[in-house]
């Protein structure tokens, strides 16, 4: 594997160079993006300046026949949080980049003028071309244009208008198996950094590529078989997710009283069943869409789908739980068709759906629109795409919007919006939201069995110390999985089925000819977090940033009437290991 570096600020125009992995050998995904950012980016640099770098890295097993290994990580200094960022995505580019032999693509420097570039990567090399005809295109129109130019055997990594306008909620789109820009590295404003580099799109050609070859093909095949069977036989990855997608969570989180509603004012949304995964799947299938579909080749879980309108026309991919919550329940909108339109707009403009849902919720509280008004939400998103003054404010996220509009209840940590689980309803989620290196992030502390991972024993689970311990262990495990390129949804089968976890380690060992153990995986997770924490400290993020907004401690959330009760001093213990 090699690293592709494109210096966008080089004299005479962008300069391309390949180099061996060198000191980064053995790293992939989040481990690689965070290592490069931590080592090469000055922590105090401006996120949109020439010193920041945008690192796009396939996972360690991407490009191999390993099941569900096509996740890709994007890293940089975040314009939203001011700290280190890793946002990851599904889609096709991870598999293709890895098959082309790239461990990472690094965009460096900054163009001297506002010329917009496209990058074409194939087995024959890399070409960077100025193309101002792409300016202010949405992701859908952009991809159509690339298809005409390069054919259908490509995948695209691109930004919409929000990225070009360097908005802090801007995402980077990755095309799916149908060559639609529906998969996004959403969080932290990574799209703004790509915009600052002057790169509108990276087109990756799959022509002439083939799957990467394992060191031990026989063992790899056997491990992959056990791994895929483990995913298929587990009720979450084999039944629940394929049938209903992640939006299966709506009814249950609502029942738990942890479904943030009306900008985090309530813990339940009365009409949530109208936008639940169960209703969504039934709506999709009855209209001729799909309720079971993969986001990248090699996915055996198939938690996505295709959302079509009443006439059976494609609108968007199946919106995920966090999207349905953000653009739905959080804004008191209970219409799946409206939510699908909002999701499509976010994908097209290139915006993080979680950040935008939280932002619209804040704007609604400020009186910019009424809660429940779907058309008003659509109009607000269109303002972002146009870059009008109010659109520029909204496109910079909930924290900026709250400040401009004078709203106190702004659900952010380190400037990044909280996702779809109220920390007063599920207290432990708040520990991860507060202390994650990424800002409030629901994937930062994911579900991998602490006992299997051997990253710590149990403390009394009813004491805050227990929650801190669990959150720490989960954050370590998540960081390790993010390095593999595996979808985080493998966590369930891995948690419940030791043989599936062993098969994951066997896959890595058979592919790279290693002898990793569970302890090594844990050590990798710890190393990633240590690297990220160190960068954040040097960037000026301290313990006082590891806090939830005040209102979570002061405003009780119904129906259980709870505030967030974990003490600050306990939050400060999360990274004591």
């Amino acid at each position: 594997m090699k690293i592709l570096r494109i210096n966008m600020g080089a004299t005479g125009g962008p300069k391309v160079s390949d180099e061996p992995m060198g000191q980064y050998e053995g790293l992939g995904g989040r481990a690689l993006t965070s290592a490069i950012v931590a080592k090469e980016v000055p922590p105090l640099c401006h996120p949109l300046g020439e010193d920041n770098k945008l690192v796009i890295a396939p996972g360690l097993l991407s490009g191999t026949p390993a099941a569900i290994s096509g996740r890709i990580s994007v890293g940089c200094k975040s314009p939203l949080t001011g700290g280190i960022k890793e946002a990851n995505s599904g889609g096709q580019p991870s598999q293709v980049l890895a098959m082309l032999g790239y461990g990472a693509v690094v965009l460096e420097g900054k163009p001297k003028n506002d010329t917009l570039y496209k990058v074409f990567i194939s087995k024959d090399g890399v070409k960077v071309t100025p193309d101002n005809s792409l300016r202010l295109l949405g992701n859908y129109a952009l991809v159509e244009k690339m298809k005409k130019e390069y054919g259908e055997k490509v995948s695209c990594i691109s930004i919409g208008q929000a990225g070009e306008m360097k908005m802090s909620a801007a995402s980077i789109a990755f095309t799916d198996m149908e060559l639609r820009p529906t998969r996004h590295a959403g969080r932290g404003g990574v799209g703004a950094v790509m915009g600052a580099k002057g790169v509108k799109v990276i087109v990756v050609s799959e022509a002439g590529t083939k799957a990467r070859t394992p060191k031990n093909p026989e063992k790899f095949r056997e491990a992959n078989k056990i791994f895929a069977e483990g995913l298929k036989k587990h009720p979450v990855t084999g039944e629940g997710l394929p049938a209903y997608g992640t939006n299966v969570l709506t009814n249950v989180i609502n029942e738990a009283g942890a479904y943030p509603t009306k900008n985090f004012m309530w813990g339940r949304f009365d009409t949530c069943q109208k936008i639940s995964g169960e209703t969504q799947a039934q709506t999709e299938t009855s209209r001729g869409g799909l309720a079971t579909h993969g986001c990248h080749s090699g996915c055996v879980i198939q938690c996505s789908g295709i959302f079509v309108d009443k006439d059976g026309h494609y609108v968007t991919k199946q919106p995920e739980y966090e999207t349905v919550w953000a653009l739905g329940g959080n804004c008191c909108i209970d219409d799946l068709d409206v939510i699908a339109q909002l999701d499509r707009l976010c994908d097209d403009i290139g915006l993080d759906t979680i950040e935008m849902g939280a932002t619209i919720g804040v704007a609604m509280e400020a009186g910019l629109a009424k809660f429940g008004d779907g058309q008003a939400s659509i109009n607000l998103l269109k303002e972002v795409g146009k870059g009008s003054p109010i659109g520029r404010i909204l496109g910079n996220g909930a924290a900026i919007t709250g400040k401009v509009l004078g709203v106190e209840r702004v659900p952010v940590v380190k400037g990044q919006a909280l996702p779809a689980y109220d920390p007063r309803g599920i207290q432990g989620m708040g520990v991860t939201y507060a202390t994650s290196t990424q800002g409030a992030d629901h994937t930062a502390g994911y579900a991998v069995a602490t006992n299997i991972m051997k990253v710590g024993g149990y403390l009394d689970p009813l004491k805050p110390e227990g929650q801190v311990e669990l959150s720490r262990n989960l954050q370590i495990a998540t960081a390790a999985i993010d390095a593999t390129g595996m979808c985080l949804f493998i966590a369930f089968a891995v948690m419940d089925q030791p043989e599936t976890f062993q098969a994951l380690i066997d896959l890595l060992n058979a592919f790279y000819g290693l002898n990793l153990t569970a302890d090594d995986v844990t050590a990798l997770g710890k190393q990633i977090l240590k690297t990220e924490r160190d960068f954040n400290l040097r960037a000026g993020l301290t313990a006082k940033h590891d806090r939830l907004p005040d209102f979570f401690k002061k405003e009780a959330l119904g129906p259980h009437n709870l505030t967030f009760m974990v003490k600050d001093e306990d939050l400060d213990k999360v990274f004591n290991w």
């Binding site: 629940g240 249950v252 309530w266 009365d270 169960e278 599920i426 994911y446 602490t450 369930f492 259980h560």
Partner: protein
């Protein structure tokens, strides 16, 4: 159908909003009547006879919530097992997430169902939150849980009404069972459900409906389920081949 003393309170339950639901529960708790038999007397009996592929049309009602009459003062396990026939293996292997009054249940054998309880049943779920909320989760420490300890409460009312919700994979597995036994639905919920049905499905249900034992033309069905003098629908769905 003459509304009784409870009519206004029951109708309040049909209004949207958490408060109305709590109101209903608090009404149940404060009711000093020795008998529960009259509580739901302002209901309209509605039955359907459909082939099995017609049953999923009713699943939105089961997600939203319904009421069953049952023996209470017993454990969740006894409630679901003895009275609705859910075996211990099914409860252990399929019903992975249980909420009682909005709080996670870890041990259904040691958690009491009371008159007015609100019970929700789900299969295993994805995400950290899904793992945290799961029964017996190693991450149970990240959330609150319902009080445990009692298997039975002597002196509690023998018969009561329990609000139930069924989610996701359990809908096709448990839905037909509860629909066959009969459930109570707030009339306004049923009206909203009926009006939201796609045309072809509604036509099919119009042909299969029996109201108080009789078939009715579509406009009369619409008028009846839109009648504010009715607080509840007593719904039973029978599935032939």
């Amino acid at each position: 159908m003459v509304p009784g003393n409870n009519f206004n309170l029951l109708a309040a339950h049909t209004l949207r909003g958490e408060r109305s639901e709590l109101f209903f529960i608090s009404f149940m708790e404060n009711d000093s009547s020795p008998s529960f038999k009259n509580r739901f007397h302002s209901f309209l009996p509605v039955e359907f006879n459909l082939p099995p592929d017609g049953i999923p049309a009713f699943f939105p009602l089961l997600q939203k919530g319904f009421v069953v009459k049952a023996r209470v003062g017993v454990s969740v396990q006894a409630f679901l097992g003895d009275q609705f026939g859910l075996g211990p293996e099914y409860l252990r292997d399929r019903v992975k997430t249980i909420f009682l009054d909005g709080k996670s249940v870890d041990d259904p054998d040691k958690t009491l169902i009371l008159d007015g309880s609100r019970l929700a049943l789900s299969a295993a779920l994805p995400g950290l939150a899904g793992a945290v909320l799961r029964r017996g989760s190693p991450f149970a420490g990240l959330r609150s849980r319902v009080a445990e300890g009692e298997k039975e409460r002597p002196g509690a009312p023998e018969e009561g009404f329990v609000s139930l919700k069924i989610f996701n994979l359990l809908l096709p597995e448990l839905g037909p069972l509860f629909l066959r036994k009969g459930i109570l639905i707030p009339r306004q919920d049923f009206q909203e459900f009926w009006e939201s049905l796609p045309g072809d499905i509604r036509k099919r249900l119009e042909q299969a409906i029996r109201v108080q034992g009789k078939g009715l033309p579509p406009d009369q069905i619409r008028d009846l389920i839109g009648s504010s003098s009715i607080a509840w629908i007593s719904l039973a769905v029978h599935s032939g081949s």
